[in-house]
Every structure is written in C-alpha cells, then in structure tokens.
Symmetry: C2
Subunit: 97 residues, 2 copies
Amino acid sequence: MTIEQLNASDEYRVRIFKALADHTRLQIIRTLKGSLTELNCGEVGERCEASKSNASYHFRTLREAGLILVRKEAQTKYIQLHQETFDTYLPGFLDSL
Amino acid sequence: MTIEQLNASDEYRVRIFKALADHTRLQIIRTLKGSLTELNCGEVGERCEASKSNASYHFRTLREAGLILVRKEAQTKYIQLHQETFDTYLPGFLDSL
DNA sequence: TAAGTTGTTCAATAGTCATAGAACTATTAT
DNA sequence: ATAATAGTTCTATGACTATTGAACAACTTA
C-alpha cells in the first residue's frame, strides 16, 4: 500500500495517532519544534534521554507515520518535522504543544 | 491524579492519542459526529460492528480520555462527543474526519 | 588500514492492548 | 416475581509496543 492510498484511509490516521501516543516521541517532536538549529539523531536522543537504539526505534516510528523528515550527510542524519503532515492531519497541534 | 492535573501534562495527550489510535474508536467518533439523532451504546456498537463487550471497552477508553460524554436514562446510556476536548487538543480534527 | 563516530538492526523481555464470551448489575415490562 | 433489555466487568488469549544491549553497517580521520 502506498502512502497516497494510506493517506485516504483510517489506517494512516491510526498510524499517526499511534506515533503520537508516546511520551518520548512527544518529547522528540517538542525538541525538534523548539530548536533553532538543525539537530541530528544523537542530539535529539540525548535531549530526550533515550538510549541510542531506543531513539532510533522512535525515529523510525515517526518517519513511517510521515511526521519527520531525515536528511543524511556523511554518517550523520539530520531530522526535521514534516510540517505538511501536521498541517493536514493535526492543524493547530504543534502550536498547542 | 485529577483530570485537571492530567490536562497540563503529556500524559493526558498520550491518553488522548492512544484513544484515537484505533480503527473501531475512529468509527465510533465518526458515527457520533455524523448522527443527527442522539445514539445509545447499542446503536453505536452495532453501526461499528463491535461486539457488546468490545464496544463497552472502547467507550470506556474514549470516556477516560475525555473524548465522549455519557448520559444515563433508565437502563440506556446515550453518548455524545465531548466537543471541548476536541477543540482544545485537536482543533480541526473532527472536520477533517 | 585501524580506530572512532553515527546510526540501524537483532533478539529477548516485560508490559500493554484488542477481542470474545460468560457472568453479572440495573432497569423495565409482563 | 419473572423475563427481557442495556451495559459492564471478568477471564483468557493472541498480538503488538517499548526497552535494552550487542552486533552490525557506513562513513571519517589519524
């Protein structure tokens, strides 16, 4: 099933809400939202007090829900919020966070 | 912990998102949103194709997340969306559903 | 090339969630 | 009283989730 097909269905909504239904992932989102500079996985994980593998697990969950975007540069991966998904499925949510 | 204290914290957000992260519960919300007349538990459960005990389980989850309100009349319980919670934590969500 | 950095994947584990059916409570109607 | 109706709670079960540490892969630098 493509992302386009998922978008139209409850399954995608469920995936988004599952991704948001976790304290660590909310912290990750809050960290990304609040940072003035671009952050990599390690920096975000550290600020959220998650172990390396645990942080990676949460990044995958967020990425598969379309909530973050990842840019790779050498061995480092930089993360940012996928604003469009929030705008479409959760208008106003980021502001309330 | 009171609802007032929960409101201020991530824990309440997590509870809300967990409550929304299920297909049956999204259907319940959609059913309540779309109905012109007041519906009771049995009617909602039937329209969402959930067994009696399963529907009751989902109603509890939604109620504990503050997403529905229940009014008892004789042996029947009527359910409605708790609009205020949606307005506060999920502005625009019901419209997008 | 060897060592260091950054991040992912695997395997194991403990905890939570969704589901069904049976038993139960509360209320109404005969 | 008895039976019928509307929901809830209990028990068991299978599936999924979050977490950790170890092993791995990719890239950089000494």
